[in-house]
Amino acid sequence: MNNAAAETNAEKIGWSREEMAQRTAMDIPNGAYVNLGIGIPELVARFVPEGREVIYHTENGLLGMGPVGDDGGEPELINAGKKRVSAIPGAAFFHHADSFSMIRGGHLDVCVLGAMQVAENGDLANWSTGAPDAIPAVGGAMDLVAGVKTIYVITQHVTKQGDPKLLERCTMPLTGVGIVSRIYTDLAVIDVTDAGFRVAEMAPGVDFEYLQERTGATLLPPGS
């Protein structure tokens, strides 16, 4: 499929949200302690590969959150997105300061977050557009990116308006500096390296040129 064809069938090119989540899940090892952000990241929990056990942390005070979509039916058993969840056998409840000690203290292995913008130096912007009339709200994002060992981002490759979200430098207010390791978009898996964005994989129907056109920074080709 060439670019012209791709563009006419734009909705068919690239991975679905579920495929992005599934691809991310493959990179989370057995035994990992994982925090999943709101939105597509939540889907990652559905795709833990056979034979792996992963423990989910929700920063409002639960280690051992049950499968996503499993609504425990209790208004006082919720996740960080304030959705009702369940707790697995072997779960633990704790207070906010203890919960963020896990985060800040580097005890969580992986955090998967959404993004507004990611820069080639690993900077992340995902909490505020910076618009003057916006109500600023940050939640736990800055703590997560400052503390968790590995930060993955799942995001559409471009905005709804078609603007690139992967940039040389973020233009929106930062969440954290140089903290993103890998980005899973609908079009590709991209590593953040010292040399910049390096393509690790491309979705079916996507070629390097197509990807580069939709990216606001120079991409390094796979295997380079």
Partner: protein, 236 residues
């Protein structure tokens, strides 16, 4: 004999004064001491600085307290949620102040306040707009922001079980900020679903030891904020 029980929410909030700093437990509706907040609305205490992770939803609980113009300033991490209607409007109109703090820093500041730690360093927010104007210092070659401990004149929290000494246990993720707010409040007032005899709570499982609690009021069947919001209810 020590007995920290108080007869009613109205009585429990009586000492809260105009201009007080009040920590209010809860993450969204989970753990929100809604009857104590409504008692504070009835009392009409004004000019409050409120510490809570959010700003309430709909027109009940914390949102109603804000709507009733009793809150001068909010210290929180996430002032907007799906049903957060009141705060954004007042904030845009310049009628309420906001101190925005990353959630983990907020929790740690409250714990520090309760633990007699006046200030500490954290990596959270380094290099972001929320670190602007704050002291940044290097340890082992890494930058950290200095943050201050936070205390309050009063803390209002909710728990599952309490005894007359003030020992508390919570319900699931409703625990959230309550244990650290209990530490940081000069007077901590608790609404408990159940008051049990001394000795009924396993000493190994006490989450908040009684030393951090000054008053307990039983609210056996608390209102559910989300239900009230869904019904479009408002308070008063």
């Amino acid at each position: 004999m020590i007995d920290k029980q108080i007869g009613s929410p109205a009585e429990a909030v009586r000492e809260i004064f105009d201009g007080a700093t009040v920590m209010i437990g809860g993450f969204g509706e989970a753990g929100s001491p809604i009857e104590l907040i409504h008692a504070l609305i009835d009392q009409g205490t004004r000019d409050l600085t409120v510490v809570n992770n959010n700003t309430g939803s709909g027109h009940v609980g914390l949102a109603a307290l804000i709507e009733n113009r009793q809150v001068r300033k909010m210290i929180c991490s996430f002032p907007r949620t799906a049903n957060s209607l009141v705060f954004p409007e007042l904030y845009r109109a310049g009628e309420i102040e906001l101190e925005l703090v990353p959630q983990g820093t907020l929790a740690e500041r409250i714990r520090a306040g309760g633990a007699g730690i006046p200030a500490f360093y954290t990596p959270s927010s380094v290099g972001t707009p929320l670190a602007e104007g704050k002291e940044v210092r290097q340890f082992d070659g890494q930058d950290y922001v200095m943050e201050y401990g936070l205390t309050a004149d009063f803390s209002l929290i909710k728990c599952r079980q309490a005894d007359r000494l003030g020992n508390l246990v919570y319900n699931k993720t409703a625990r959230n900020f309550a244990p650290v707010m209990a530490m940081a409040g000069r007077r901590t007032i608790v609404q408990a679903r159940e008051i049990v005899p001394v000795g009924a709570i396993d000493p190994e499982c006490v989450v908040t030891p009684g030393i951090f609690v000054q008053g307990i009021v039983q609210v056996s069947d608390p209102l559910h904020e989300s239900l009230l919001v869904a019904e479009g209810r408002s308070y008063p």
